[in-house]
Amino acid sequence: MAQVPKFTKIQELIYELPIERVMKKGVIRVSPETTMTELKEVLRVNRISGVPVMEGERLAGVISIEDLIKALVEGDVEAPVRKRMTTRLITVRENESVVEAVKKFTQYKVGRLLVVDEQGRLTGILTGGDITRGLLGAISLDYHAEEISRYRAKHIFEDIVSDQTSLILRYKVDAKDFKKGGTASSKIKRALDRLGGVPEVIRRVAISAYEAEMNLIIHTDHGGELIAELQPEVIRIMAIDQGPGIPDVDQAMSPGFSTAPNWIRELGFGAGMGLMNIKKCADAMTLESTVGVGTRMEIVIYLHPESRQEQASEKQKDGEPS
């Protein structure tokens, strides 16, 4: 199978972001006749380390702080910039992606690149620092977008008002289709993640949903349905099938009891722990089964630890055992 290359967010952005989004605009420039002493003031006042040299609208060269230091050492500070500038111009186009700039920085080992438009006119200047700042800015924008979408998902139950709102996720699970095992439960888990569930609760939901899903795959004749009903306070997971049914539900519930054939056990299933796992993770679980008709399992998990306690104390008030 072909390997899909993996990109980090940064790599993706380096390819996506155009140079004009990160470059410095309103470029400070000097003329070829500016003296090195004047240049020193331009660099100092603007706190920059280099400037393009422009002859009218034509780009003539670049002069940097390194050139200035050399001039100082040689006592050539009254020389015009023209004499000491670099005329090797390394340019990038403003509509190219940042990756092109990164390549040129590596290739030419320069501190800054001149950014030009389609007509070759100077529109900006780009340093390594500009790229870093641009990427950081873009990442935080992306991060905010993700935050907002999470926030919206989290508050869906507050936004949509009814007497009783619930979100129902239905998954069809095929018998003996081990390759798809865990797909439905992964999706339920992801939905809860999205809705801002508590990690400890999500873990219990994931384990119960997975075991219920695997039971449909391993034990049913024709598969079944895994349904997750999400309400603001509670998730109800139902696994429903049309047979063969469980002859002795109590026995099925005892740890280590399994009816899985050997080939399934060799895959690591059929430990006889599935229903136990569900029972441990669920706040309530019911299993009803009739041989020849089918099985219906219902798992209830409270999404907020506080609501579980409330529920328990209400039950006690009603005189029911909790």
Binding site: M1, Q3, V4, K6, F178, K179, G181, G182, T183, S185, S186, K189, P199, R203, A206, I207, Y210, E211, M214, L267, G268, F269, A271, M273, G274, N277, K280
Partner: protein, 115 residues
């Protein structure tokens, strides 16, 4: 806390999924070939040692947010399993060593059964 990278280097494991192990920390370890037991016994940032190598290993690892899975005794996941691991962000590692040996080496690196 041991880094997954250190485990891969010290135990000389071969990573078969293209998910990067960089920056992953291993909180604890768990060993079993029964998937329900791994579901129960291994949690977030655990490393799971098993000789099972089929698709459902990835499902369990992803559902439990494991740090990675070490597949022992020279068993190799098929391309479909590896593809799923890449998609789900599961680090799959293989070794010819037996589970017992791997667990011993993990223990020596400071990985315990509980965080």
């Amino acid at each position: 806390m041991t880094s997954l990278k250190e485990i891969i280097e010290t135990l000389n494991l071969e990573t078969v999924s293209s998910v990067s192990a960089d920056g992953r920390s291993v909180m604890a370890g768990y060993a079993s070939d029964l998937l329900s037991c791994a579901m129960k016994g291994a949690g977030k940032d655990y490393v799971w040692v098993t000789l099972q190598s089929h698709l459902n290993v990835v499902a369990v690892a992803s559902l439990s947010n494991l740090a990675g899975v070490i597949i022992t005794e020279g068993n190799r996941p098929d391309p479909e399993t590896i593809g799923r691991a890449d998609k789900e962000g599961v680090v799959l590692m293989v070794t010819p060593k037996a589970t017992f040996t791997v667990v011993g080496e993990l223990t020596r690196l400071g990985v315990r059964g509980e965080p």
